[in-house]
Amino acid sequence: MRTEILISGFGGQGVIRMGQILGLCAINQGHRVTMLKSHGTETRGGYVRAQIVISPEYVDSPVVEHADVFVAFSQPAYTKFYDLCGGKVLYDPELVEKVRDDAPDRHVPVAATQLSKETFSNQLFANMIMLGALTRVAALDYEAMRKAMLAVIPRFHDQNLAALDLGHTLPAARV
Amino acid sequence: MNKLAAKYLRPSQIPTKACHGCGIGMIENWLLQAIDELGLKQEDVIFGTGIGCVGRQTFATWGGDNFGATHGRALAVATGLKLAQPDKKYLIVVGDGDAASIGTSHLIHAARRNLGVTVICEDNMGYESTGGQFSPTTPAGYVTNSSPYGMVEPGFDPCDVVKAAGATFVAETTATQWHQTVKIVKKALQNDGFSFVHVRFPCNENFGAYALGTRDTLKNLEWIYEHTQGRKADGSETDFTWETGIKHDASNSRPEFSRLLRDMNARVKADMEAKRRP
């Protein structure tokens, strides 16, 4: 079974980091993984996109053309890539203010930025909150995700684990 | 073939195809004298060169290992070679085109890195193997085949350039100064770092013929000699003067390039081993 995940936002939000943890988690569970990351020269500020494909077999096309899950971290990203997604759309309502109303059951609001600011007095942990929510929504192995996160992120393990927990237990993510 | 040539050179490649009266062969003999006086053997020295008169006439004359790079790149090749063969002496014999024009960026950065090579820049003040065009070392105002109205560009002094870039030994001499050149080359070879020796010599066929109006070797050598003295045979002043001699000697004052890398590697290895210990 081929699973396609698309994550997009602005540079500096930790979009690539999320993809890296997700990918390593899948590899540790014996899967094959590809991750395309696109950004221009503007690593900070410009749009960033991670296309992740997970499969038990070798992944031929690494391009996400029919995402099973789409994580939108900015309004332009949401608008630009919405049509590539046939599954759940996780979005941060503080960053994506206008969502389409024709598919409410596919939309999952995750107030990651707001929660990060409230809990950690810092919006830096929004990506881990979102990853926690994504783990729940995509029914991925949470323990494996925690381990992968610890392997990828060099510092602030306590806060990052707390953020992951926060996202994973979020009512909105229990779908 | 003289005794030194028999000892160090490759008989099948001597004599070279150099023009009659060309200074390249004579200067090469002086280099051999310096090598011999230092007690160096054929296998101690790697001989590198480039393209042009100097490259073409000296390539494969050296009896030991040698290379002739593409135009200007002898020092780039030597940069890699030195890493693999750090204990050899390197004699990089190139012309003014290789050193002062097409390959100047490599010259500057080899000097900056203090690459352990001795560059002998044999400068015939123009591009003579292509028929006598001006080069960055052609004196201002002189006529060549590409400066028929006189060289209008200002030239530069490659010694100043390499000194500014960090060369640890810099000297200037000419084809009229046998003993001084041998002494200088010996010092240059004893510097475990970047040495630069600028040797002006006459080209009779082109520079001599067009810029100085004569193909006579002695007259051309005399013209060079006068410009090292600032005075002509008749007592009048020359249009400019070349200061010859050692211009900068900081021999063995800072680590040679490949040594720096080897020292770093030793540090990295020690750190890795320290981390591995329980």
């Binding site: 993809g19 890296q20 990918g23 390593l24 590899i27 540790n28 899967h31 993984v33 590809t34 991750m35 395309l36 990351k37 950004h39 221009g40 020269t41 992944v59 031929d60 096309s61 690494p62 391009v63 053309e65 | 490759r10 099948s12 490649q13 054929q42 296998e43 790697i46 073409r56 390539f59 494969a60 009896g63 290992d65 040698n66 290379f67 002739g68 790079a69 593409t70 135009h71 790149r73 780039a76 090749v77 030597a78 940069t79 890699g80 070679l81 030195k82 890493l83 693999a84 063969q85 960026s105 490599h106 500057i108 950065h109 490949s258 890398l261 770093m264 590697n265 990295v268 290895k269 890795m272």
Partner: protein
């Protein structure tokens, strides 16, 4: 001549993978795999100049080489970079450089020098879309011909290979080093921005020293230094610094390495430089195929692009099209034999001018059956490829698709 083995991948690392069971599985970028492949192959010198999207190779090398007693040299330009690699290789150390198109063209000075002096080394060109600086973060396949003619003057053949995955980049780098040693010539790994920047699962063997398929550097310590007039391979490369009296130059040379201006010598040297590769094409053939047995239309691609193209072929087959697939790993010498079959071809490449397609047109029996799907700066999508194959299977014509160029003049 090569005998085409239809179905699956033809490459030496299929065996290597079976033999390497002990190792680590990582999520890493293509640049990482290219670097580690080089280290595993025994590369001990990297000299080059940083350029997107090959910069990470330089950075990884600057970290890894000192750990294994090797040397990283950040040069003043790419001219110096490849010449320094050639110098290091001449001194007895395996060397690699990495660049992108703008740097690759600057290296051609040293490329020709390395070809004529039979100096083994590996060059990575991570292609981005052009011309010239183009878009630094977008893939291209514009150096297909430049890599073949990576120097002026003619009278030589080149070896160019292209990986399609991060894992393949690792094995192929080892393979490229082996080929450069066996054939005494520079080998280009023609990769692209997608493969170099992409992250993928990567198996790395635990013990590089135990890799018996890595060809160690040997030295030729005596005459003839250049077996001119002779096409044999597996002649050890020459070494400077061992007192052999070897001569290395830019000119046409004798077997001693002396420069010479004689026709006989020129012919003898050319014979060797061309035929040591042409006569051993079977040693150089790496490719992947499927569905050729019943294929009416065959999609042709290489590099990152081959991945979406392969999925597109599978999609076309699901739609009932008798589609086949050829992925070239060896780009040069060109594997004509793969295209000597009576069917239609759709050549997918990342440029609008058409490069690979021209070689397929030359090699295939009918030029009118060879079609071009050129795309610029972005991989073909699966649906584009499937639609293209469908159209050609039905009517021998490509449908009109946005952003796809089909004309080759």
């Amino acid at each position: 001549m090569i005998t085409v083995k239809a179905g699956g991948l033809v490459a030496p690392w299929i065996e290597w993978e079976k033999r390497c069971t002990d190792g680590r599985r990582l999520l890493e970028a293509g640049t990482y795999a290219l670097t580690e492949g080089a280290i595993a192959a025994g590369c001990r010198v990297f000299a080059g100049y940083p350029i997107t999207p090959a910069t990470d190779i330089a950075e990884y090398m600057s970290k890894r080489l000192p750990q294994v007693g090797g040397y990283y040299v950040q040069c003043e330009d790419e001219l110096a970079g490849m010449h320094a690699c050639a110098g290091a290789s001449l001194g007895g150390l395996k060397a690699m450089t990495a660049t992108s198109g703008p740097g690759y063209t600057l290296m051609h000075d040293a490329y020709g020098w390395s070809i004529t002096n039979e100096i083994p080394l590996v060059v990575v060109d991570a292609m981005r879309v052009g011309p010239i600086s183009g878009i630094t973060g977008a893939p291209g396949q514009g150096e297909f011909y430049i890599a073949r003619y990576a120097s002026h003057g003619g009278n030589f053949e080149t070896i160019v290979v292209s990986p399609s995955s991060v894992q393949e980049a690792f094995w192929l780098t080892i393979d490229a080093f082996n080929l450069s040693e066996r054939f005494r010539t520079p080998v280009t790994i023609l990769t692209d921005q997608v493969i170099s920047d992409m992250w993928e699962d990567l198996f790395i063997p635990a013990d590089y020293d135990g890799l018996d398929f890595v060809r160690p550097r040997k030295h030729n310590l005596m005459m003839p230094f250049y077996p001119v007039g002779d096409a044999s391979i597996d002649v050890p490369p020459n070494v400077i610094g061992h007192g052999t009296g070897v001569c290395v130059s830019a000119y046409t040379h004798t077997e001693e390495g002396y420069d010479i201006e004689e026709m006989e010598a020129q012919w003898a040297q050319t014979y060797r430089l061309v035929n040591k590769i042409r006569h051993h094409k079977d040693e150089l053939a790496r490719y992947e195929t499927f569905g050729l047995d019943d294929a009416e239309v065959v999609a042709v691609a290489y590099g990152a692009n081959a991945r979406t193209v392969k999925t597109g072929v599978l999609e076309a087959r699901r739609r009932g099209v008798k589609a086949g697939f050829v992925r070239l790993v060896t780009l040069w010498p060109f594997l004509d034999e793969l295209f000597e079959r009576d069917c239609r071809f759709v050549v997918c490449e990342l440029n609008y001018d058409g490069q690979l397609v021209r070689e397929v047109q030359r090699a295939a029996p009918h030029k009118k059956d060879v079609h071009f799907m050129g795309k610029s700066a972005e991989l073909h999508t699966v649906s584009e490829v499937a639609a293209g194959l469908d159209g050609v299977a039905r009517s021998n014509r490509l449908p009109e698709l946005p952003y796809i160029w089909t004309e080759v003049r």
